[in-house]
Amino acid sequence: MDTKIRVHNPMGYPPQIAQKPLAPRADDLTGKTVYLVDCRFDDGDILIEQMANWFHDNRPDVNIEVRRKSGVYTERDETLYAEIQQKGAGAVMAVGH
């Protein structure tokens, strides 16, 4: 019963992963624009709206842009991402159900 046997590993072969850099960070958000992006998860738009309200109440010095991503949540919205890259100091993506 204690005889050792050799068996195959059943897992497939993963791709290599290369790290992508994060977007540059702003030192301070005062006077800058932060995008709050609803990615179309269930009721994520309501959560984003409440985060915008928080900024209004607590950080009125930050310009908030609330946006809803085009397409379903598995797709990229290149137009919006380009706009954020050009005009935004940061973005919060609301992901999850």
């Binding site: 059943p10 897992m11 030192d27 179309r40 409440q50």
Partner: protein
């Protein structure tokens, strides 16, 4: 979340977490989430958000890195008992006993196909946003052995693997798959299309379906709860992926694979995903059969189109009652009769999530559907998404509708 971002090459992506779920919470409840603590760190949620947006990046976050990963061909030799435990601990099984894939057993399985063991069969992933893993004929054979399949079944299992369609989708909706085999291979490996074909009564049906599940979870890189599987309720169909052969001999219609471009003398396997909802009925009543079928169709989710799975008795009844002398005529009737008011359709959560964005982007036919008046009856399903398969042993006229998405039909003969 962290497993997903690692796979995307952004392992240090910054997160903040409100409690889950968000769905169904009122604005006041969600404001309380925003004002409250981060569900993971316990620190104020919005402080975590501001911190993530402004904290200078560390050397670790900016240093270019490559994450090397590989899969060894074998696991470390051990006793049978320890290896069984290892396979359970690694979540390489469906939690039922497996056949350990020894070199001898895998070599025997490989004899079921003329293909070289190192031939790349395809790639698979748990969901469209995750990375795809690659696999060879040998890797498929390993999983086929684990499932208890016989070498003569191997071409069907390779064909299933070649579809690239996972029977272990990670979706929170707990989807399973369905596999339908057509052609001479059904006879050669003694599959069942008669009594109990969709149940645990045939070795080929049972183990081919189980192999489809095991190869999916292992070759795509796992199906581990909270990491690569998020199905909230799970799905019992996943144990053998609803695998059966079509009853071509007793069907009054064209075999499924012939509908999709194959010759009757060819063998093929068709894969359906998203199997969750099932409606069932007994026969077709003379007076109200159309109402009964419409009711069944309304009981499915509008985002899961219907595949009619008919006992030969009921297939014949559809001809007798509705003069549907082809599957295509029945499919057209289903399309025209599966309707609901536009406002009700667009309010379904899955339609909101997956169809409405396409309509907004002008993609047809969704964009035109969006123009319908709120009380106008609109087709729920696209014609090309509706299918018909015949299976059963004619002990009675029970039949069902499976809500599922047709993925495609693949040649079995190419993998012999």
């Amino acid at each position: 979340m962290r497993a997903s971002t690692l796979q995307q090459g952004i392992p240090y992506l910054r997160h903040a977490f409100v409690p889950q779920p968000v769905m169904g919470r009122t604005p006041d409840q969600l404001r309380a989430y925003v004002d409250g603590p981060d569900d993971v760190t316990g620190r104020p949620f919005m402080s975590e958000v501001i911190n993530a947006l402004t904290r200078p990046q560390s050397a670790q976050e900016t240093r270019p890195q490559t994450f090397e990963r590989s899969t060894p061909r074998f696991v470390e030799p051990d006793t049978e008992e320890n290896l069984r435990q290892l396979f359970l601990d690694k979540r390489w099984t469906d939690m039922l006993p497996i056949i350990l894939p020894t070199e001898e057993r895998v070599a025997a399985m490989l004899k079921g196909s003329s293909r070289s063991p190192d031939t790349v069969v395809g790639q698979m992933r748990p969901t469209s946003t995750r990375e795809a893993w690659e696999y060879t004929v040998e890797k498929v054979a390993v999983n086929a052995v684990m499932a208890g399949a016989r070498p003569e079944y191997f071409p069907v299992i390779l064909a299933l693997a070649a579809t690239g369609a996972s029977a272990r989708a990670s979706t929170t909706s707990s989807a399973a798959s369905m596999a339908v085999v057509n052609g001479p291979i059904r006879h050669e490996i003694e599959m069942n299309w008669g009594i109990g074909a969709m149940g645990p009564y045939n070795h080929a049906n049972a183990t081919i379906g189980r192999a489809f599940g095991l190869l999916s979870q292992n070759l795509q890189g796992g199906s581990v709860p909270e990491v690569t599987y998020l199905g909230s309720q799970g799905n019992n169909y996943a144990y053998n992926s609803v695998t059966f052969a079509e009853n071509e001999e007793r069907s009054p219609w064209t075999p499924f694979h012939v509908q999709h471009g194959f010759r009757a003398a060819e063998s093929a396997v068709s894969v359906f995903g998203g199997c969750r909802s099932t409606a069932f009925n007994l026969g077709l009543r003379a007076r109200h059969w159309q109402d009964h079928v419409r009711n069944m169709l309304r009981g499915l989710n509008p985002h899961n189109p219907p595949t009619f799975v008919l006992d030969p008795i009921t297939a014949q009844q559809f001809i007798d009652r509705g003069s549907f002398d082809s599957k295509e005529k029945l499919i057209q009737w289903v399309h025209d009769n599966a309707t609901m008011p536009a406002s009700v359709y667009w309010d379904y959560q899955l339609i909101e999530n997956y169809v409405y964005p396409h309509a907004l982007n002008g993609i047809e036919p969704y964009a035109s559907k969006l123009q319908a008046a709120s009380d106008e009856l609109i087709p729920i399903y696209q014609l090309e998404d509706i299918h018909v398969v015949v299976v059963g042993g004619e002990t009675n006229g029970y039949w069902r509708i499976m809500g599922c998405n047709y993925h495609g039909t693949t040649s079995v003969d190419e993998w012999r």
